[in-house]
Every structure is written in C-alpha cells, then in structure tokens.
C-alpha cells in the first residue's frame, strides 16, 4: 500500500507531539509493545511505554457488540469463552460495550491519545473504524507467532485495504446489509428499493444509521459502485434520494442496532438491516421476519479484533484471537451469531452442530452471494467528514 509511508507507531508519536503543542492534552503517547514513548507532562499514563504483563497478569478484557458471542441462557455463561479460560488459565472479562462505532471511538479516543489504559485488551470495530484505529496508531502490531491459526482466515479477508496481510487486525465476524421485512405484513417480500418504498409501507420503514450500509445500498440502486472511486456528486445524489424519502414520510426512523425493536413492536414492517440480526429475529419469532440481499446490491462489512495501543495484555489477547480461529470454536460461535464465519474450515465443524446452518449462504457465502455485495471503499479524512456531515444532516441531526 502506497499510503503506508509511515509506520502507525511513528504517526502516533508525531500526532502526540502536535497535540501537546496545541495544549489540548499533555501526557505521553504510548504506542506499541516495547515502544518507548519519551514524554509526559503529567497525566496518568505509564510514561515508559506499554509493557506486556500477560505472563504475570493472566487476564484479557474484551469489548464486543451485543449478541455477538455464543451465550447459554440457562447457565448465563459464554461456553466458548469458558473453555478458553479453562484451557489457558486466563480470566476473560467480556463486555458488550460497543453499540456504535462512532460512540465507542468517541468514548475511548481521549484516553488513547494520551496513552492511558482504556480498559480493554481486545476491541472489535467495523472495517472503516478499524482502519482509523490502525491509521492513527491506536492498534498494536500482532505477533504472528502467538496466532498460528491466523492462516485459517477466509481468503477474501486476507488482504483488506486497511490492513494488507492482517498485521494489526483479525476479522471477528462479517455480515451483509440488506432488506429485512415482516413476512405477515409483506408476504411478497422485499427485494428491490421499489419493494421497500411501496406506498403500503409508508411511514413504517426504518433504515440504518450506519452511513456505509444505508448509502451503500442506495448508491448501488442508483448504479454507482460504492467499492470504486465514486464522486462527491454521486454521493450527494444518493443523499438527496434519502432526504426525499424522509421528507415524504416513507422513512420513519434512522437507527442503529435498535431497528430490531421497531420490527418486533410493529413500528416498522421493512428495514435496511443486518443479516445476522434478522436471522436471529426470524428464529426467535417463528419465521415472522426474513432477510434478502437487494437485487441491485447489498453491502458486506466485517468487524475486526484489534489490540488497543494501551493494552498491557497483548499476548493474552493474541492467544484469545488464536483460540477463536480454531475451526471447531469458530463453528460454535457461528451457530449462535448467524453471521459470516471468518474461518472457512469451520463449515464441516458446523455441519456436526447444525447441518442446515452450515449450508446457509449467509454464514458460508458462495461465490454467487458474494457477487451481489460490495465493500464500501475507504474514505479520505476530508470525505469522511463531509459525507458524514451530509448524512447526519439528512437524517435530521
């Protein structure tokens, strides 16, 4: 990658210098295990850099999205995580603290920038946000020796634009954004934008507040490929389309994960939503809901495990990543979360648990399914600011 001129660690140091100069915060930037960041004008950071204390402190703290790890309702435990603890002697603290990429970043960014512990050793932001973490030097470089299972990663996920060769991140799960609908209210289903914005659905449509999913689907409907270098004008056309649908009263709300509540309580009959959520809703509500990738194209996204620059349990975190890349473990997670499994070799393992799921193109997608979806291209900092402002203004903020 051409834009990788400076190592993220170096960039972080430069940025820390700039920050100090602008008198925003004064404290040491601490990045990368073993990196000695010499600075610190006070503040609560370990000025001598992050030292990996994994061997003496057998803990790992993991922040993830809600409903994103196999959970046993009866014992109130995460079976795979418990097995990890038993096998390694590492105590894992698992929290569902990530509800939104932006909010989570906003919450921890201040601490990351001054190098003070954010309280997590593994975090799982989505591609574009993972890209920001790596770019800004907030992620530690992985030690491949501790993660031999890294090679199990699905081929298409191996060389992503933001982390070619996966030196900083490993995919946790991937998913599709597409149409979800209430089968009782719309027996014919929703497969095109026209189906979604049918007069009968007026005022009962909810779309995602995740820019890349909602705009990615609208752009493709307008014949623009969001994975290629589309122009600002093309993007603004799609924004106008969204604005129009809001002004006409078709779109009732623009929300994050909570669109599932609207489907359940009946405020929404059709949504732009995520594949895994809708399959969970479907199985929990006697097939009352369904999901399809739009005919004009859906989006594909992944959430990525990263080790924050402030983590002092890097090795433990790497062992955790390695564990979840074991096919049998990955299959157990896939059986619960219903998202795309990053470990292709988990398919035969999942067959043993649930043959029907193992055959699902939404968990182990075939080439035909992958052809229908696009990954939103990386945006420059200027584009990100302008596009996000335009999107937020369109949705009323």
């Amino acid at each position: 990658m051409k834009r990788e001129e400076l190592a993220p660690e170096t960039k972080a140091l430069i940025r820390a210098q700039m920050t100090r100069r602008s008198l925003l915060v004064g404290a040491g930037a601490v990045v990368g295990a073993g990196t000695l960041a010499a600075c610190g004008t006070g503040g609560s950071t370990s000025a001598e850099g992050v030292v990996d204390v994994s061997d003496t402190e057998k803990i790992v703290r993991w922040a993830n999205w809600p409903l994103y790890l196999d959970f046993n309702e009866n014992s109130k435990e995460y079976p795979t995580l418990k097995a990890f603890e038993a096998a390694t002697g590492i105590t894992a603290t698992y929290t569902e603290d990530i509800d939104d990429n932006n909010t989570f970043y906003g919450k921890v960014q201040g601490q990351l920038s001054i190098g003070s512990d954010i309280g997590y050793d593994v975090v799982t932001p989505t591609d574009w946000m993972a890209s920001r973490w790596i770019e800004q030097g907030y992620a530690q470089k992985l030690n491949a020796e501790n993660i031999p299972n890294k090679s199990n990663i699905r081929k298409v996920l191996q060389d992503v634009p933001f982390d070619s060769g996966r030196n900083y991140s490993l995919t946790w799960q991937s998913g599709f954004a597409g149409f979800g609908w209430n089968v009782e209210k719309i027996p014919a289903g929703v497969r095109t934008i026209e189906d979604l914005f049918k007069p009968a659905n007026k005022g009962r449509i909810v779309v995602l507040s995740e820019l890349r999913d909602t705009m990615g689907i609208i752009l493709q409907y307008q014949g623009v490929d969001p994975s290629k270098s589309f122009t600002e004008d093309q993007y603004m056309n799609a924004i106008d389309f969204l604005k129009g649908k809001i002004a006409d009263g078709f779109i009732r709300k623009v929300r994050g994960n909570s669109y599932s509540e609207d489907l359940v309580n009946g405020d929404a009959v059709a949504v732009i939503g995520w594949s895994g959520d809708l399959f969970i809703l479907k199985s929990e509500n006697d097939n009352k809901f369904d999901f399809a990738i739009p005919e004009s194209g859906g989006t594909l996204w992944s959430d990525n495990m990263l080790i924050p620059s402030t983590s002092t349990h890097k090795k433990n975190a790497e062992l955790l990543m390695n564990y979840y890349y074991e096919p049998a473990v990955a299959a157990q997670v896939a059986a619960y979360v219903n998202y795309i499994c990053p470990v292709e070799a988990a398919q035969p393992e999942l067959e043993k648990i649930d043959p029907e799921l193992a055959a699902s193109p939404f968990i182990f997608p075939d080439a035909a399914t992958l052809e229908k979806v696009k990954v939103f291209r990386p945006l420059t900092a200027d584009e990100q600011t302008n596009f996000q402002t335009a999107f937020d203004e369109a949705i009323g903020n």
Binding site: Q136, G203, D267, A381, D382, T385, D392, G396
Partner: protein, 300 residues
C-alpha cells in the same frame, strides 16, 4: 518539650483564634471549589478553546488546530437553527404541561393527602428507581403502532388507519414532560407545603372565596416553587437528546441530537463545542430574563 508543645498547640489567645477563624471559611469552601475548578471551570475553558478550532485540510479525523475562528459559531448556528428553535419550543411546551400536571398533584399532596402524604411522595420519585433510558424505551412499546394506546384509539370512528404516536412531536414532548415531571413536582410541593394554613383561613375570614384565596394567596406564596420547578424542567429539557432520539423521527431532532452527532459521528468537535456554548448562553439569557420577570431574585 511536652509542656512547650501543649502550650503551643493550646494557644487560644484572641489573635491566633481570629486568624484560624478567618481561614475556616476557605477551608470549608475548598472541596467545593476544587470540584468546580476541575469539573466545571476547566472543561468550560477547554470547550471554549475547542469551539474556535479548525481542522486543517487533509488532516486526520479528530485533529484540530487553534485558529480562533469565531465564525464557527455563526456557521454552526446557521446550519442547525431549525433543531435549535425546535429544542426551545419543545422544552417550553413540556414545561407548561409539566406545570399543569404537577401543580394540582403537589397541591393535593401538600394539603389533602393526610396520612398518605409520604407514600405519595415516594410514588412521585418512584420512576427514578428504574433507568431513565429504559423508561423511555418502554414508552416506544406503549405508544407503538401495535401498542395498546394506538390500537384502542383506532377503534374510534374518526381515527384513521395511518394513526401513529411514536416518531411524532407529540411523543417527544410527552416523553420530555414525563421524564422531568418529578423535577417540577418536588419544588412545587416544598413551597406549597410551607404555606401556613392560617393564611388561607385568614383569606376565608376576609370573605375571599376558594378561587380568590387560591389566586391571591396560594399562587403568590408558591411562586418560588413554580420558578424553581420550571427552571429544573426547562433547562435539562432544552438540552435533552434521549427523548428525541428514542421517541422521535428525523423531523423531530433537537439540538442535543445535533451536538451528539457532531461530536461522535462526524468527530467535528469545534461545531459541537460552539453549539453547546450557544445553547448554554441562550439558556442563561432566558433564565435571567425569566427570574427578573417573576421577581424572585432571592432564588439566585
């Protein structure tokens, strides 16, 4: 040594006594002052400094440099005046509604509740036992299209099938009113309860009927409670974003939602800071005018 020590420490001469007394108020104030400086003055200064920063072209997300650009305020206001005005309108309506609901309630608890007074007071604050957020989410279920209220209303002949309550200004204002009602009720109750019943009896003895007594005696004496209650409702309601986010739609967003979006989603800290400052200043001006008008300067 021991003697000297005791003598020294037990000096209670008039001069040293005065000296130590003159320091006492400052020592007593210290915790509060330190608190204020760390959690109010310092953040306010940092917010003020952020509000005039500029992101250099092509710089990383979240990188801003100080350029003392005051035009940030004008830009931020012009781009968002719709939500800005809406916030004050919603907060105003919610405050009036809350007053209309809370006054009779507080009056009843203060004068007519007898032995149930304490139970009723506990019930007023009972909603605080569950999370603010959860209660607001619960409203989406109650007001939802398939919820009991909409379904019942639809039975009425003049209510159309497209009738809905959530994602409307009605839902947002109701949410605000509901969530801030205890803040209105408690100060009202406190000032009503303090009214000496003999003043009401005296009004009766002077041939005032019930309504006149209420108008000429009860209301004026409860004014401190009205002012405190309206302020405690209006100020947080104007800056609230939870109700609009959960119960509203894109066309009912308030300024709090914009600030949240600029801060978290766009990572445009200067705009978020400028909007916060403008909001703060407007509230301060409105409150000053209001207190002047209502003639209860002793409150501030």
């Amino acid at each position: 040594m021991a003697f000297l020590h005791t003598a020294a420490s037990s000096t209670t001469g008039p001069r040293s006594g005065l000296k130590s007394r003159s320091w006492t108020p400052y020592l007593l104030l210290a915790p509060g002052l330190i608190w204020l400086v760390t959690f109010f003055i310092f953040p306010i200064l940092s917010l003020a400094s952020t509000s005039t920063m500029v992101r250099p072209d092509g710089a990383q997300i979240g990188t801003y440099v100080q350029e003392f650009r005051l035009a940030n305020y004008i830009d931020a206001f012009q781009a968002n005046q719709e939500q800005y005005i809406r916030s004050f309108v919603y907060a105003g309506i919610a405050t009036i509604l809350a007053l209309a609901i809370a006054y009779p309630l507080a009056y009843m608890i203060a004068f007519k509740s007898g032995k149930y007074r304490n139970i009723l007071l506990v019930l007023v604050v009972a909603p605080f036992f569950t999370s603010f957020l959860l209660r607001t989410v619960a409203w989406t279920q109650i007001l939802g299209d398939e919820g009991p209220i909409v379904q019942t209303l639809k039975l009425l002949p003049f209510v159309g099938d497209s009738m809905r309550l959530t994602s409307t200004p009605f839902a947002v204002v109701s949410g605000l009113t509901y969530n801030f009602l205890p803040f209105m009720t408690l100060p009202l109750y406190a000032s009503l309860e303090r009214i000496d019943p003999r003043t009401l009896e005296a009004a009766g003895d002077l041939y005032a009927n019930g309504l006149t007594t209420f108008r000429k005696v009860t209301v004026p004496l409860s004014m401190p409670g009205v002012v405190a209650g309206t302020l405690l409702t209006f100020i947080p309601a104007a800056g609230d974003y939870v109700n609009a986010a959960i119960l509203g739609s894109p066309s009912t967003k308030m300024i709090g939602n914009v600030i949240e979006s600029r801060f978290f989603a766009v990572v445009d800290y200067p705009t978020a800071a400028a909007l916060s400052f403008t909001l703060m200043a407007t509230i301060l001006i409105l409150v000053t005018l209001y207190i002047r008008r209502s003639g209860t300067d002793e409150l501030v």
